[in-house]
Amino acid sequence: MSTKVQVTRPTKIELARLKRRLKLATRIQKIVKDRLSILIMEFLQTVKECTSVKEKLLVDFREAYKALSVTTGYHGYAFLEKELLASEMALKINSFTRNVAGVKIPVFEMEDTGTSSARNTLDTSSLVDNSAKLSRECLKTAIELAELQNSLNLLGAEINKVKRVNNALEYIVIPGLDATIKYLTMKFEERDREEVARLKYVKLLIEQREAYAY
């Protein structure tokens, strides 16, 4: 990739300023790279967790449906529907945020409201209790998955953003500053050489003039 030299004034002050900027840009790039590596690590970890939670959710659903079908077979639809109406419970999910390297990630937590189901345990069998328990497990896993999926989206977007900054620094800003510093250094060297040649020529002229004077 060709680098663009940007010089406003070819002066020593400008060169010093550019060197300072290059030093700063290099340090910033190191930090940005660190942040990127941390974000990628978090992203990969979240992907792993997400996969395992998805698998768990599938297993939980399978178990819950199995239990529900057994319960339905034992008690019948009408009875189960009546029980379901009676067993309505208040559900409270708290949503917070946590911060991962500057990215705000949501946290969902299911709170136990303390209200127990109004189901009459004397009339029903343990099959209904088992179905209810498994359904609750499914819900917990689904909430966990929602949190992880959200985290994945947010982390992915931030990784893209940080990557762009890192690439801009690595391929545009730092090479540009490098090229400008090199250009200025060469220009000053050339100017010095010209100065030396000019001084030598002036010295020669003076010597010649002095020789003619005698």
Binding site: K30, G102, V165
Partner: protein, 142 residues
């Protein structure tokens, strides 16, 4: 932010400075002790940017199982993991040694705390973050 086509580098730098300012803005203004957080209904700390960082109760309960009462009062949360750009390792400042106890329990290996500093490696960080998601935070330093 408007990009000035005449000076793209300067605009980019200004943008970058803003990014750097917000890089460590998520760090807490004041850390709280574990015992203090356990008493709160919604355990949280205020961050430098004004946002709130919440702790999962499960994690706090896990830490409670590991530490004794004195350590619970001494341990300040969130635990700050310093990511230094000049080193590959990560450092954690620990004055009480409670952090070392937690890490050695999670990593299942002895962790040394030399001159109030615990050094861990990147593969260990993955294991730690898996367990302590909300009770640890990153700080980027040069």
């Amino acid at each position: 932010m408007r990009i000035d086509p005449r000076e793209p580098n300067r605009t980019f730098e200004a943008n970058l400075k803003g990014d750097l300012k917000t890089l460590n803005a998520h760090l807490p203004r004041r850390r709280k002790s574990l015992s203090e957080l356990l008493e709160e209904k919604c355990p949280h700390v205020e961050c430098g940017d004004g946002s709130t960082h919440y702790f999962k109760k499960k994690e706090l309960e896990y830490l409670t199982e590991i530490l004794n009462n004195k350590e619970k009062q001494m341990l300040l949360l969130p635990i700050i993991i310093e990511v230094r750009s000049d080193e590959g390792n990560l450092t954690i400042r620990s004055k009480t040694g409670a952090e070392a106890k937690i890490f050695s329990k999670i990593l299942d290996m002895p962790i040394a705390c030399k001159l109030d500093v615990i050094t861990i490696f990147r593969p260990q960080l993955t294991v730690l973050r898996k367990v302590l998601k909300t009770t640890t935070q990153y700080a980027f330093t040069i």
